[in-house]
């Protein structure tokens, strides 16, 4: 379901994961790089990406990690999830990173490398370039 959790307007390149992300345990708060060997985004940097993933998991303290990567200029410019979880929601709110949820179908259609723009004031939230 479409929800706007944190509003904003950005344009960028998609980095997509079908695995959920545990921000506290597996994202380096300086570099924004995923350090979990078993994660599909292992060693990938989320810096300046439009990060697309199902939802966040793990401790709510992970919200501080999102705040940290934003402060260190290594954060995504937006996040798009299938399901809203409180860790990612509050983390994006702290860091002022636009966050929306979308339907399963739209989630499936988005691929890594796509260029898209997100505008939470527009009736169509996502425009594909």
């Amino acid at each position: 379901m479409n929800k706007i959790l944190v509003s904003g307007k950005v344009e960028g390149i998609v980095l997509k994961s079908n695995d959920p992300i545990n921000f506290l345990g597996t994202v380096d708060k300086k570099t924004g790089i995923i350090s979990d060997k078993n994660h599909t985004l292992f060693e990938k940097s989320m810096k300046n990406s439009v990060l697309v993933f199902p939802s966040g998991i793990g401790s709510s303290v992970g919200a501080y990690t999102i705040y940290s990567i934003k402060s260190n200029n290594t954060a995504p410019i937006a996040m798009i999830c299938k399901k809203a979880d409180l860790t990612v929601a509050t983390g994006c709110a702290l860091a002022n990173i636009p966050l929306i949820t979308i339907s399963d179908e739209e989630f499936e259609s988005i691929k890594t490398g796509m260029n898209l723009s997100l505008d939470t004031d527009s009736t169509t939230l996502i425009h594909y370039q």
Binding site: A63, Y64, L86, A89, A93, N96
Partner: protein, 386 residues
């Protein structure tokens, strides 16, 4: 469903009342959307978690230091325990960095106008507002106690939604703030329960329940047993309310019997004996301190026993003479901190800890990485003192 904001709330979200207020509204809106709230409602009391440097780390310390420059709480706001008791921190092996970061966190909260209560039992040390009052409690055992025993209304808030609620004076109207009908009834079948049994019942209920559960078959409980149940439930899941009674005929019935209790016991009890003892998680209140003092009359612990309590309780207990009596019996008295996520117990020094706290057991096992030996207070006094 979408969150509807008033015109004033909309303009605060756009930043017209400054960046900090804007961020606080962003947190409430994001939390509200994630939890299907249709509006924000006023709250009268916020209780914050996210105080212990051991849990929030450098990122938390830096964040609080930054926002405390201009963030101020607008309602009564109280605070969870921190990592140590400044009066005796030198007795424990904590490094300078930990101490200075923790004091910075304390300073940030005080600057924001938070009452430095450093307690996970706000319901025992502050007056309870009138029935039905909306509050925002982040500490899980306190949220459950507020909803189940104190006739208050709160969600199980996150550290962030509680802080934002404290600044704005409002919370998202979602989940447990509304009428909530549990779909599960747990039947208490264990005979002659002590505080450990109630803690394990709470732990079991937190696992099987969603946002709230009915509990039937309970006898009269004392304060220690109520707290044990709230502590256990807050540890194992997202459930944040007990309703006492059978529930209607549509609810699923689940029995909590000796076998289920043994399962919880086997999950948390990993050691036959402990090197030290901890009492408190949740922290002990004045009644429990009084009872402990009576139980220890003429007896002394044969190993270290850490006793965690709020500073206000320690001050009252000092006046009555309990503290000197407990110290005579070998207790280490610690205020402002608690067993849960304590940096004062390290697996480098300790193999296993004896406790009567299910909440304490869970975090000692999973966070401190030490063994846990579960015993009721009665057994602890019988076995560990002479």
């Amino acid at each position: 469903m979408t969150l509807e904001l008033t015109r004033e709330e909309e303009s605060a979200l756009k930043g017209e009342n400054g960046e900090t207020m804007q961020m606080a509204y962003r947190i409430l809106v994001a939390t509200g959307e994630a939890t299907d709230a249709e509006k924000l409602i006023p709250i009268e009391w916020a209780h914050l978690s996210g105080v212990n440097y051991n849990t929030i780390g450098d990122a938390g310390e830096e964040f609080l230091s930054t926002i405390s420059k201009d963030a101020r709480v607008s309602v009564k706001t109280t605070l969870n325990p921190m990592g140590f008791d400044i009066d005796n921190v030198s007795n424990y092996k904590l490094d300078e960095n930990f101490i200075s970061k923790q004091l910075s966190i304390r300073n940030s909260y005080e600057t924001m106008g938070v009452i430095p209560s450093f307690s996970c039992i706000p319901y025992e040390i502050f007056d309870i507002p009138k029935n039905g009052t909306q509050v925002a409690f982040a500490e899980s055992n306190a949220a459950i106690h507020a909803n189940s025993y104190d006739n208050l209304k709160t969600n199980k808030e996150s550290a962030f939604s509680a802080l934002a609620s404290a600044i704005v004076g409002k919370s998202p109207y979602s989940s447990l703030r509304k009428e909530d009908t549990p779909n599960i009834t747990i039947e208490m079948k264990v005979k002659n329960p002590n505080e450990l049994s109630y803690g394990m019942l709470g732990f079991f209920a937190g696992k099987v329940g969603d946002t709230s559960v009915n509990i039937s078959g309970l006898a009269e409980m004392d304060q220690r047993q109520c707290k044990a149940m709230c502590g256990g439930m807050g540890t194992s899941g997202t459930c944040a309310k007990f309703n006492f009674g059978e529930g209607d005929s549509n609810t699923e019935k689940i029995e909590f019997d000796e076998k289920e209790m043994q399962n919880v016991h086997d999950e948390l009890n990993t050691s036959e004996k402990g090197d030290i003892i901890t009492l408190g998680s949740p922290q002990l209140g004045l009644d429990e301190i009084s009872d402990l003092t009576a139980k220890l009359k003429g007896r002394s612990f044969e190993k270290r026993c850490m006793v965690f309590l709020p500073r206000t309780v320690k001050e009252q207990a000092q006046k009555i003479g309990y503290i000197s009596e407990l110290e005579r019996a070998g207790c280490e008295i610690l205020s402002d901190c608690c067993t849960c996520l304590t940096p004062l117990i390290s697996k480098d020094d300790v193999d296993a800890v004896t406790t009567n706290s299910i909440k304490g057991a869970f975090y000692l096992k999973n966070s401190n990485g030490v063994g846990v030996n579960l015993k009721s207070l009665k057994e602890i006094v019988e076995d560990e003192t002479r």
